[in-house]
């Protein structure tokens, strides 16, 4: 399962565990300006009892093209009533979920695992193309042709997206019911001294989610 250390993927880890799986959590040090999230991923993996947690180094700054991996592109600051998904924002990282899922596919094959979990949602999200259900479906179809396990084995690889149709508030409620301590998670794209900025897309989505759930954010 892909674990960024944010609210969504932390919830997914709890869901995978409650689905009865041993969870092998995979994170990436990809040159993100918010690599403080990796410390959150470590905390969450331990908190929720992951069987193993690996951090893979892949420097996507080599390609750039995103505010998250290129220090010369500013992180946008939406206004309080702005629609976040009117267009794909500059925080989109080219092919990021495609790359992340491909490493998950490799590890899954070595582990002889047929279930991959990812915390994408098509609701309360930033409009990234690689978070949409049609992308995930196409990825799964490709993955079922890609590996030795897929070709020779009896297991069909499944990409699980348990948050795909949940609002952020519903995700929070689901996680709380499963015992997730959101105080351990980190969502901000552009932290200041490791603390959330409060004004980036990711902070705004998170704040709206807790507000809609009628709860305070324990990370603040």
């Amino acid at each position: 399962m892909l674990l960024s250390g944010g609210l969504d993927s932390s919830t997914v880890l709890a869901i995978a565990r409650s689905d009865g799986f041993d969870a092998y959590a995979l994170s990436f040090r990809y040159g993100q300006r918010h690599d403080v999230e990796l410390a959150a991923a470590r905390r969450i993996a331990e908190h929720l009892g992951a069987a193993e947690h690996r951090i893979v180094d892949i420097d996507l700054r080599a390609f750039g093209g995103s505010a998250l991996t290129d220090g010369t592109i500013s992180v946008p600051r939406p206004g309080p009533d702005d629609e976040l998904d009117a267009q794909i924002p500059v925080t989109y990282v080219p092919a990021r979920n495609t790359i992340f899922l491909s490493f998950a596919l490799a590890w899954a094959e070595v582990l002889d695992a047929a279930d991959v979990y990812i915390g994408v949602s098509a609701i309360d999200y930033s409009g990234y193309p690689d978070c949409r259900p049609e992308f995930i479906e196409a990825y799964q179809a490709m993955a079922r042709l890609a590996t030795k396990a897929a070709v020779e084995g009896s297991q069909k690889l499944t990409i699980h997206t348990p948050l795909i149709s949940l609002t952020k508030a519903q995700t929070i409620q689901r996680g709380l019911a499963l015992g997730v301590d959101y105080g351990l998670t980190h969502s901000c794209y552009d932290p200041v001294d490791g603390r959330p900025c409060g004004t980036c897309d990711s902070c705004v989505l998170r704040a709206r989610g807790f507000a809609a759930a009628g709860l305070p954010d324990p990370a603040l």
Copy 2:
């Protein structure tokens, strides 16, 4: 375009150039035991006039599962008349082409390029699942849903596989017609002091290709 420094991908670079493209060549230092191939990739990129050549570090030894990335698994030595593609050999690297294509997709998006070239062949190959036409077709379908360029742009991403139906001998003949100096390429999985072993799958396929073309291998 994906460039390993071997016979096939070097030919593909020449074909992409002859198709009229500026070629951006991408190689990977992935923990392969034959990383001497990267020096060949550098030579070939210069020899065939690539616009740029990048080597990305991704250590697939973290996952293992292949004779190419795990020093404890031996590279097989086929006999002179053995069928190489009777089953998927231990030199298969889990999800390797899926991972490589995903990085190519990221770079293509940043370059605003819609054409990706890869030197897979379904003939005279080692039986790897991620070299088959059905895998490439599924990858292309996924890629067309994966990126901002795919969703917002007018260009449809195409994965070009100019070698897919060529025998090794035909590939060599095609490359020679385009001026490829195969003396600069490296194919061996398990080189000894940087020289081809002559007995691994890759050396055997290469030797059979030159023999079928009626030509000596200039790298020997």
